[in-house]
Symmetry: C2
Subunit: 260 residues, 2 copies
């Protein structure tokens, strides 16, 4: 899949467990996107674990990072019979930027009960929705990697935040790459924060946890973001991604803080 | 606070950064409660960080643990100007059971915007609610450490699951200890799983992330648990704890799997 931007940007050379790499430009805003860094570490952890599917990934954001030379260090914590656990860290200029851990399993052999409360976002067909042109993203390069489609233009884009910190929209890679387990850790952090709709402009992630539930079917993802509790600038941001077959594929939550 | 069970059970002797301890009985079911182990590691991380409040804690459950001799190893990852990051692991019989990481800050000096969607569970006064007697907990020793009060007796206790995987209830330590930042990581994992109401009896935690938003006021906590997505046995369990002043103090999510 090296013809796609995401795969080229997250390719790791060498055998591991440590890697030298270059964090490319174009995957962030003022700093490198947190989900992009988490996807990099998930790819590195995947290489040291015997199961194909990251089912839960948690990352602690220690320092913002800029594009440039970097190192990844990985550790296989435990490989059990059905679940394996790994840790990885991303270093930039001798300083640790992100520490992540994950559990891996094989969802193709998973079996057990199912039950769903709630449903995918109800949206008109993508062709009847409005896009968010890259120009609207105001220098946020990560937004140029994706297409977003909303039932109506979000209030914050028009300078009129709705007062409701939530959103539903379609999302896909702009270059045609299909979603998969490797790219979902990026996708859950690559949309506009829900708090833009209550007039907040800049936030940064402290911790991000992603649950991956199923390998996504090709096509548009239906996504939902929401913040319910903002206290002294601290807030959670929840993200759900549903695939074109109507299956919840990712559910994430981050703790973020408002920047002034 | 050594007169209370929780403080005696989580006391750490010595200077750190590593500790020898004995995991006491009475804080779990078939195995030691995951939230109890996370509270142990949070206490150990607190000892190596310069800020008083754990604002986010994430734990990866590698192996179940039984009571008995154990070791904790801690690492201060980074101490920044307003936030510090630490990691800790719990070892039992030479094997790692839990690896956790956390960010600490000082919430007494936090300032920033606030906004809330939703509210604390609406419940009758505690005296008009029904309790869950320890006998109902069927050998689940962790339930003997707490009092729970429900508006109505939960369906699963009566052998008639409601079919709705959610619950609202009061909760407090049975011995009169007040809730605080140290005990919240235990409290969020010490109530009955919401999936009991859809007929599922045994689950185990893979990962648990806890956001702590405020130091709780004394008194009963109002709590809410819910599971929305159960797929092939994997499911999230969300937990909210609101203090007696009506403030959200903890919000947690775990990825768990159904056991047969």
């Amino acid at each position: 899949m090296g013809d796609f931007e995401f795969d080229a940007a997250t390719a790791l050379d060498g055998e591991g467990p440590s890697y030298d790499l270059r964090i490319p430009g174009g995957w962030g805003a003022e700093t490198v996107n947190g989900g992009f860094m988490l996807a990099l570490l998930t790819r590195a952890m995947d290489a040291v674990t015997p199961f194909p599917d990251p089912i839960v990934i948690s990352g602690l954001y220690l320092r913002p990072a800029q594009p440039g030379p970097a190192q990844i260090r990985t550790e296989l914590i435990r490989a059990g019979r059905t679940t394996a656990f790994a840790q990885a860290s991303l270093w930039r200029e001798g300083k640790e930027s992100l520490r992540a851990s994950a559990a891996f399993s094989d969802l193709s052999t998973a079996s057990g009960p199912g039950f769903t409360v709630g449903a995918a976002p109800a949206l008109p067909p993508p062709d009847e929705c409005v896009g968010m042109e890259p120009a609207s993203a105001r220098g946020i390069s990560i937004a140029e990697r994706f297409e977003y489609r909303y039932a109506e233009t979000p209030g914050w884009i028009q300078g009129s935040p709705t007062g409701e910190p939530s959103a539903e929209f379609y999302m896909r890679f702009r270059d045609g790459r299909e979603p998969d387990m490797a790219s979902l850790p990026l996708i859950v952090d690559a949309a506009s924060p829900a708090v833009l709709e209550i007039g907040i402009e800049r936030v940064t992630t402290i911790e991000l946890t992603v649950h991956l539930r199923a390998r996504p079917a090709p096509g548009w993802l239906r996504c939902r973001t929401a913040t319910r509790f903002l206290s002294d600038g601290y807030h959670e941001e929840d993200f759900e991604a549903w695939d074109s077959a109507g299956t919840l594929v990712a559910q994430s939550r981050q703790l973020a803080i408002v920047l002034r």
